[in-house]
Each structure stands twice: as C-alpha cells, then as structure tokens.
Amino acid sequence: MKLIKRFVRGAIKEEVDSELAFHIDMTVRDLVARGMSEQQARAEAQRRFGDATTVTAECRRFGEERDRVARRTEYLTELRQDVAFAVRQLVKTPGFTIVSVLTLALGIGATAAMFSALDAVVLRSLPFPNASRIVDIHPHQAGRRNLGLTPPEYLAFRNIKELEYVAVARLGGGAALQIGDLPEMVDAAAVSADYFAVFGVRPEFGRTFTRDEDVEGGPGVAILSHRFWMSRFNGDPAVLNRVLQIDGKPHTVIGIMPASFDFLKGSANIWEPLALAPAAATQYGAHYLEGYARLRAGVSQAVASAALLSAEHAVAAQIPERTQSLSAYEIQIRSFSDDLVHDYRALLFILVGAVGFVLLIACGNVANLLLARGMSRARELAIRAALGAGRGRLFRQLLTESLVLSLVGAAAGLFVAFILLRALPHISPDDVPRLERAHIDLRVLGMTLLLGIASSVIFGLVPALRAARPQLQQTLREGGRGSGSARDRLRAILVGAQVALTLALLVGAGLLIRSAWSIQHVDPGFDPHGVLAARIVLPEVHYASGDAVVRTYTTIRDEAARIPGVQSVALTSVVPMSNSTMRSSVAPGGAGKSDSREDANLRLVSDGYFSTMRIPMIAGRDISRDDLADGVPVAVVNEVIIHTLWPGIDVRDAIGRRIGAVPTRRKDLPEWEIVGVTKDLHEAALTQTPDPEMYVPYQQTADAFWPFLGRSLVVVARLADEHAAPETLVRPLQRVIAHVDPSLPIADSKSVEGYLSDSVATARMNTILLSLLGGIALVLAMVGIFGVVAYFVRQRTYEIGVRLALGATPSDVWRFVVRRGMAPVVGGMVAGIGLSLATSALLRGQLFGVTAHDPATLGVVASLMAAVALLAIYVPARRAARVPPAIALTST
C-alpha cells in the first residue's frame, strides 16, 4: 500500500484525471444501460459533471496539499525512527555512551558555568540607567595616588555643570545597631544626598535623603539595603518609618533600596546622611571621602576630567600654607563599572579561555569516539546500503545519533554547570562583584544548546560523511575490520591536538600552583597563628572626647588581658592584610630636614602590639604605656622608611631622629621621635614588597583625629595555646566589652590567619579553577588516548596474531603498540610546549615567584603528560601482547 501511495503521490495530475475519467465512464455505462446512445450518454455525463476544469484544479490543489502533509508526516516519522534507533544504538553500547556523555557534560558544563560567571561579572552592564556615565573621582597629589576626596573638593565639584550629580560617601567601619537587647555591628556608609541620584536608582520603598536632611544636626534618617531588609526584617515593609537606634541615636527608616543596589557582597547595609559640618569646608587635608559623579548626557570623560581639574586647582589655590605647586594637584576619573570589575575581567577571560580548551578537548574525544564507532559500524552500514538504504538516509541517521548524544551531553552539562556555579562563590574572593548573581538564564541555556548542537554537527559530520560513502565492496571484503591510513591520521591529529591543549592548560595550572606555593612560603614578618582581631567602634554620642576614647580602649584592653588562655592583648588601628590603610606622607624632621619624603602607612598601636603579633624589633624600644598625650610624641618605624628617608645609615643610628608629616607640616602638628625599628613585614599583601610603616601610640592621638578613624580600633589577642582556634575568644571578648559598655558591638572579628588567607583568595581561586580544569583535561586526554589505542589494537588483532604466528615476541608487539600510541602524544607534547609558551604569557600578572616560562614546571607537566599517556596505552598494549597467535587462523 505504501508503495502504491508513493507512486500515486508523484503524479497528482494523472491521479485526478484518471479518477474523474473513471467517473465519467461509469456514468456513461449506466446511461447506456438505460437505453441512451453512447454519444448522448457521454454528453449527458459531461453536462452533469459541470465545470470539469474548476473541479480538476480544486482536486489537484487539495491533492498537493495532502502530499505535503504526508511528506512532513513521513519526515517526522522517520525522525522519530532515527531518534528511537539512535537511542537503541546508544543503549546497546553503554560504555561508549557514558564516556561520550560525561565528556560532553564536563566540557559543556564547565563552559556554561564560566560563561555565566563572565556574563554576571563583566559582560552584563550594571543595573543602573546609563551606567557608563557613572564615574569615580580620584585626586592625586604629588605622586600620592588615589587619595580620597576632601570636603572642600566635594563642595567645589558640586558646582561643575558637566556633572549631573556629584556625591561622596564615607565608607568603612560600621554602625552599632540596637534592635532588642543586643547591639550588632552593621556595614554602614554615610553618603551625601545625591548619592542615589548618581547611580540613578530609586528606592524599592519609601524615599532617599533630601538635601535638607544632609546637613549637620539634620534629622536622624536611614535607608536600608534590600539584602539587610530581607535578612534582618524578613522583607517586612512595615519597617518603613520605624525608628532604629544607630550608634546610640534614633534614626527613622525612610527608604529601602532595591536588590539591584546590592552589587557587592560587602557593600553597605545602612546608609545615613553624611551631614558635613560647615567647618568641613576648610578641611583641605582630610582625604576621607569616596567621590562619585554622574556625567551629563553627551559629556565625555575627558571633558569632565578637564572641568574637575580646573575646579581642583581653584580649591588648591585656597589652601593656606600650601607647600606644593598647583600642578602637583591632579584628578583622575574612572568608569565606575570598570573599577568594580578591575582585574577580574582579565582573570575571567583567562578562565573562559581555559574552559574553551577543555571544551575543545572534550569535543576531540567525542569526535574520536564517533569516528571509531563509525568505522566499527562500517560493515553494518555497508549492508544497509546494499539493502537499498539511501545515502542521505544513512547520513541523516548518523547525524541524528550524534545530535541525540550531544543533546543528552548538553543536558548533563547543564547539571554540571549548575553545580559549578553553586560552588564558585565559595572559592572566589569576596569582592568579585555580582558573582553570586551568576545563574543559568535563558542566554546560558541557549548557549549550552548551541554548543551541544555545534559539537554534534562538527563531530557527527565527519564520521557521518565518511560512513555515508562506505566503499561497499572493500568494506564487505575486509569483513568490517576497516582500515585506511587517512582515518588513522585524522585520529592521530585529534589526539595530538588534545595532548597539546591539555599540556598548555596543565602548564598554566602548574605555574599557578607554584605561585601559590611561593606565596605560602613568604614570611609575612608576623605570626598570624592563634591571634584574634576584633574591631570596636565607639559611637560619637557617648565618646565625643579623645580622652574618653583612649580611656575606654585602655580599659577594654586591660580587661581582655585577663581572659583565661590569653597570652597577650594589644590595640591597633589596622590589622595586617585587612586591606585598609591610612597613609601619611612623612619626611625627616627636626635638624635633619631634607627633600626626601615617603608615603607611609600610619598605624595607631598600643604597647605590646609587636610582641602580640610577633613582629621582631631590630633596634630601640617598643611603644610604652607611658608614651602619653603630654609626653614626647614617639614612633616606631620599619626598615624601609629609614632606608628611604636616610639612605645609607645604619638602622640603629635612626633611633632618636625625628620624622614629620608632609605637606601640612604646621607648627601644631607633631614631629615624632623615632624610638624603635621593626623588621619589614608584608602588611598589604604577601606578593607585594613591604611598604614603609610607621606606628604611633594610640594614647598620643590628637582629639581631632579620632573622628577620621571613626573612633575605631582593633583588639588583637594572642592565645597561649597556639593550636586553639582564635574564634573561641569571641564570646569572652564580647562579655568584656559588654562589661565596659553594653551598647558596644564587635564590628567584625576574625582570626588574623583569616585575613591572611583572604588576601590570597584571588590566587587561590585561580589555582583551584585552573587545576580543576587541567585535571579534567588530563582525564579527558587520557580517555582519548586510551580510546584510540584500544581501537587500533581491536582493528589490528588479526594482524598482530599473524605477526605473533610468524615469530614476533610479545615484547615486539608491546613496542609496536606503544610506538603507534605514543607517536601522536609526542607530537602533541611538542606542539603543546609551543602553545604553552604563548598562553602562559597571559598569566604573567597572576604569577608570583615563578616566571611564565619556568622550565621546571614545563618539565614536570611534560613528564606527567607522558606518564598518563603511557598509562592509557598500557591496558590496550597488554591486551595486544596476549593475542593468541591462533587468531590468525580462525578470524575471518
């Protein structure tokens, strides 16, 4: 029936004509039987039929439509058959299927995950309207880069007409929030009224600050972040207009920002008005504000920069006792979004590149597997072709098979991507913006599908093309053993490419691992083990005077020293590796005045800080309890400062010399007498050379200086037992602080080791991810090599049998197989070394203590690669050596 239909379908015209002719003939026959003449009957029949042309045309039209429908149905039926057949075939060879799907899943999954991360962090524009017009403002001054903005600068910049909005924020520290009984420390920022307008973000509920509220003595108002509102108030809108006790003062909640404003894990949770005092208008040296601006539409960064620079010079011209020329004052603006993603952009592109390698390797594997499969099935295909299956049909069916394979692979890959994305935020540094927002969205889904389909077309096509034109006779004659040196060459090239890509990835991973190892072995210059650091902030309401601040910290410290198990306790303004600094430009003071000056990190510390942190003193004495406000101002410095300010002198001779602050070297500012010198230490990062450091007693801090510090110091406490967890000190310390003032919270407490580990978080993430990718690549390459050699041995079983029968020893066979297996590996390794020289140059910025072309790393990786390749060849080679020679007689 099907054959008839097929025949009929070809000729609609004939079908209609003969059917209608039949009808006419039948009518004529009936009429003749009733007594009409043949001629009359035919005329009558035609009359009855009516307009034959129209009827014929109509029938043909419906007929053609019918055929189209039928063709589509047939196509779909065949597709269903192909898919069903493909699934059956895949189920029949579970080894092949599992290896292929896993390979594709790893390749596609890793790619999708990295793409999601790249998309979230770099590609997707910030959720702010016209985000490209948002900039950060950074003043530079005589080589001091990235200073904060001063209040006079901010006030002047507000009048620049090229800027639509200008705003400043005082970040850092936190605010003590009292809800219920326990005070807690919340990340807070004091911002000027236009801060939210700069970003163009409207609150989710309520409103933002008005300019009238942003004045000294203005109303206590606060805005909450979405994140904080959800976590602390369960997203209850009733929190609006509620009064919260922040830093001991009542604040009314007037607004809640939307989730899109939580662009960093660590961004502020509470905003309050900056409320600059009128006196701030002349604080020319107070670089404590972060400046942001929204450029007016059509204003370029260059134009805005120029306008800012002239405003900056106008401000500088008013500075009394200015020591530098106006040209020393510079302004730099940077796009806010560029600043936010800074070096993660390069990093993510490197990772995406690495992941691309893995995908290529995975694809190479699947291609090889499909090729081998196509050849093992050459006999089946030849038989089917001989039985009349069309070439197109065979081709389509093979392609369907690889399509099914890669779609399953893509689905599994999506699952892999999901897991990787869940894991990624746990190993990444905290300040990668928006990483936790990376998720598998429609675009990633689309890309995964595309990758799946592309890989299937590419890897399915070559084997399908080869299989679709099987040399029928040859294949049947060879008994399906298959041969062909061209195919072997293609497979060898695929293996070589895989090895090359794997090697390049492993070299990258190896270099990062060596870097991580080097970093681990940098002596930080202090002993971070067993030390807890807990920041305390004293609210202004209760601690207005510097005297009260000093007294309170002294009490807290003394009481903390009595906690059982504590060896020593000290105070500092900044913990090493905590990523915050307070810098001051210093120069030789007193009689030895000179032009040499240095930007130094300035830290307020208590006595015992160096012994608690185990920072070795080289000369002089420690800060003492008796260095009080009315005594001689003293300082402890590190070696770097001395070598820069007084080149060539012995550090011991520095004791007693004086050091002064620049550029506001006024009579009322102290010069410090150097009483001690410490060894250099890595305060900022293990990978950076030590900075100049200056430590001054917290007890000698000027009253006016405490507000800049937020009246905040860190208690560092060392446990007597080095192996105990420093976190066990948190509760006792909280009790001590509550005893001193029940409204004081601990802002953040963390082991100093934790700070150290955070400082290498980026390096750690790189290392983990690249090692993971390198590991995946190695496994995939191993599977690839194994597959090719195993296939080779299977194809040559007969030949090997003949060789053995003719007197070859098993070790000859070993050598034969290993030589054949290793040839593409060795070629791939040579290419891989060349490739790695190019790719590892991209990593240069991420390396530490090792060059991008480190021969040792290259050697180790190459040996590893060779060892793994030999392992992959071992199993099939052993099978080859055990081939019974009799197979030469029995095999067909």
């Binding site: 059917e19 039929f49 007929g63 439509e65 019918r66």
Partner: protein, 105 residues
Amino acid sequence: MKDLHGTLDALVLRTLTFGPRHGYDIVRWLREQTQDALEVEEGSLYPALYRMERDGSIEAEWGMSELGRRAKFYTITDAGRRRLRADTKAFAQFVRIVSPLLLPT
C-alpha cells in the same frame, strides 16, 4: 434534491462506514438509499473527497473496480469516524432548533 449545505462531508463519511467505495459508487449508493431523491453533484463531491483525504478523515487506495477497471477506493479513518459523530450531532441539534420554526404543527 440537492445536498443541504454542509452535509455533504457527513453524507460521504456515512456512506464509507459501510465499506470502501470509489467516487461513483458513493454517488450511486446515496441515490439508491434515498430512492433517487438525493443527487450528489460530482463537481462538489470530488473536491470534497480530496479535501477530506488531505485532512485525514479518509484514506484512498487504488484497486480494481467490480468491472475490472482501476478505481480509487476511499476508506474512512478513525479520525473520519470521530468527525462523522461530531457532524451528526451538530446536524441533529440544528434540526431540533430549526424545525419548530420551519415546521410549525
């Protein structure tokens, strides 16, 4: 009498429930069943047959007619039977609604 508008498809399908028939046979069968009262127009019948074939209500197959000539035989499909049931129901409803108006007693 000519076929009522819209009932041709249902009449053809009904005819085919008694077994496969070719086009001429359908005309003849309807005429005989209605004692020559219903004369289906060939000009409408054949397009209808092709249309219903396209829609899957009927299937066609070439075979030998009783006189030894090649003829196209139509068979009703399952989809065609479903359609016949629906059409019959709609027709019955039409009659029920319209007859009190047109045939007042």
